[in-house]
């Protein structure tokens, strides 16, 4: 095999792989791009039902209710201006607490309730998920990152 033919083959193989990857990525992208919304977006925009989305906000105090069999939990997520109801069947993360920031991934049901597939709480008590910060900033309820006490030297 000559050098030229070999190069042609390598280029073709590379292009083929690129095409395959592009096809795979595009087909997977079309179903799996998950857009981020704030509770206010959900109240004010008419969003498609059944599509996966992410919602960031704080768990509204005194809104968490567990079902009798302990398998599902319902709560409301707020950005200070608006709130949306969420139901979740599964295990809540350890750091899930009322008044704390959460990011919900799930779909809006016909009942206008978010059916959560995953609930993410922050791993560290000093840390605010960027999505939650964004939601609070958009609704004008942002109070800034809690500065760690005595962290900076003069």
């Amino acid at each position: 095999m000559t050098r030229k033919r070999r190069r042609l083959l390598a280029v073709l193989a590379g292009l083929g792989m690129l095409g395959l990857a592009t096809a795979l990525v595009l087909s997977a992208f079309s179903d799996n791009l998950v857009f981020f919304y704030t509770p206010s977006d959900i109240k004010t925009k008419s969003l498609p039902e059944g599509r996966r989305m992410r919602i960031g906000g704080l768990v509204e105090p005194a809104s968490v209710e567990k079902s009798a069999d302990g398998k599902t939990v319902a709560f409301r997520v707020t950005d200070g201006a608006n709130d949306v109801p969420v139901t979740y069947a599964g295990a809540l993360p350890d750091l899930f607490r009322e008044g704390q920031g959460v990011v919900i991934e799930g779909a809006l049901g016909k009942d206008h309730v978010i059916h959560a597939a995953t609930v993410l709480a922050k791993h560290d008590e000093r840390y605010m998920p960027p999505e939650v910060a964004e939601a609070l900033k958009r609704s004008g309820h942002w109070q800034g990152e809690h500065p760690p006490q005595g962290a900076k030297t003069p």
């Binding site: 395959l20 799996n32 302990g70 005595g150």
Partner: protein, 658 residues
Amino acid sequence: MITELGHFALILALCLAALQSTLPLAGAARRHLGWMAVGQSTALAQFVLVALAFAALVHAYVTSDFSVVNVAENSHSTKPLLYKITGVWGNHEGSMLLWVLILSLFGGAVAWFGDNLPPALRARVLAVQGMIGFGFLLFILLTSDPFHRLVPAPLDGRGLNPILQDPGLAFHPPFLYLGYVGFSVSFSFAVAALIEGRVDAAWARWVRPWTLAAWCALTIGIAMGSWWAYYTLGWGGWWFWDPVENASFMPWLVGTALLHSAIVVEKRDALKSWTILLAIVTFSLSLIGTFLVRSGVLTSVHAFAVDPARGTFILLLLLVAIGGSLSLYAIRAPALRGGGIFAPISREGALVLNNLLLATCAATVFLGTLYPLFLDAVGGPKLSVGFPFFNRTFVPLMVPALLAVAFGPMLAWKRGDLVGALQRLWIAFAAALVIILIGLYATGGGPVLAVLGLGLAMWVFAGSAVEWAERVKLGRAALAESWRRARHLPRASHGMTLAHMGLAVTVAGIAASAWQVERIEIMRPGEDLPLAGYTLRLDGVAKVAGPNFTADRATITVLHDGQRVAVMQPEKRFFPVQQMPTSLTAIHTTLLADLYLALGDADGKGGWTLRAYWKPLVPWIWIGAVVMAAGGVVSLSDRRWRVGIAARRARGVTQAAE
């Protein structure tokens, strides 16, 4: 005082790094042996200095010196000693110091073991290594100084995030960094080769052991991180396609490709510029991983604190390192002439296929991970890429790669015989078919993809076994003859077989996760919960106190056919210093399956939520990773003497040329 010494040592290391990145380079250009030799002594001194700085920080942690900001923010006097030490890298500043420590360790190792390298190449490699060190030392000193003092010192520290107080996680960062940073050596060799404009078989032989060592460490590091997520997060998942996981996985994928393409450079003198590019890309991805994880653009346990100055600095480092090396590549790579010509169906061809697929996999993971960040940066909508994206792009690309793993090593160099190879693999094919049929029968046609996955794992495993058996003529010669052949087979060949078998074991573990059984129930003491043939009986929940936490500990008796097989004690811990709860899962493993229990909340009426999983073959995921790394180590033990041979041969060549 010791803290200030540590700070001083770090500044001194920065100065040495500046020297190391310039003088040897100038020396190599002017063929000045004295200047070139500066590289070795500065690299060793830099390691000693950074080690001193690191020891000073460890000292501050162990003695709970809360006048140091970093200690006050991340440690606590009641913390067990192990976590006082591992807490050093459980925060941004300390982990960056660990990063630089490992970088200087590798630089020092090149200087120490590099006696057989041609002096000019060694000087250039060490100079590039010095540049990376300079960048990161400057980063630490300017934006992330771990030795900052706090006046007045608080009475006690704020403690380490409890979720990080775990033996599995304690050693995950060092291994991960050994991998990430280990690729800096391949990078430095690649840049040095571009500056020299020469890549040959000897170069590949020098690069391969470093790449292999880094790859082994990264494999272990990723496996540890995944195992940690599995047993601490309490929902039994072991891989989430989380951007932070992807950040470590991308260098692994490209590093694996590099490992394979370097063989072609070594044995056949082909694929030179591609291998150089892979070396650059692998370390670039390690740097991007560091940026993703450390800049706070991602939500995760790794994002310690958000400081825009740090993100900007790392981004700048990225631009210089990646942009610079790729520009150099663009200018110099066309001059690298490939030697060996090969047919598409050949060992080289199979390795090219491996490289194409791994690189494409890495590219799709890269796209899925960075697309949301990119959109966000240009002011587009905020979105994320769901994990089904990764499964749908990754799996179709991995399947052909796995199919090729079995027959690639059976093909001859230059021109292979595909039909012959497939004929010799009939046993592997039959074994895979048997597994698929048994799987379909046993699960009643269960998830077909999972059954096929098991078959694929068997194909890779048996294929590797067949290849090895052929090499030692197992069954075709006397046993004594086979034994003699096995002993004389190069270690690298055993290593390859072992690593490929490890891959098969991991694939089997992943495929079998489709059959996991999950139950979430509220249980009262004395109640039974049936799960996958076992009966779980809740004996009671008791309050217990740990060194720096209190916990509710459930005691659960596991019965199988009326026989007691285990007592499991999942806990829900509460850390008062951080006001933070964590869960400690209980796992009972038979190595064929795990019983996995996590304790949830009390319902206030005497009942407790219990999450129980039965997970078949799940330990194999990590066992396979360990076997893969072991294969790498076996292969590494071979390289030592071959490096010597390469050096002697190369020296002979250069002497003849001069």
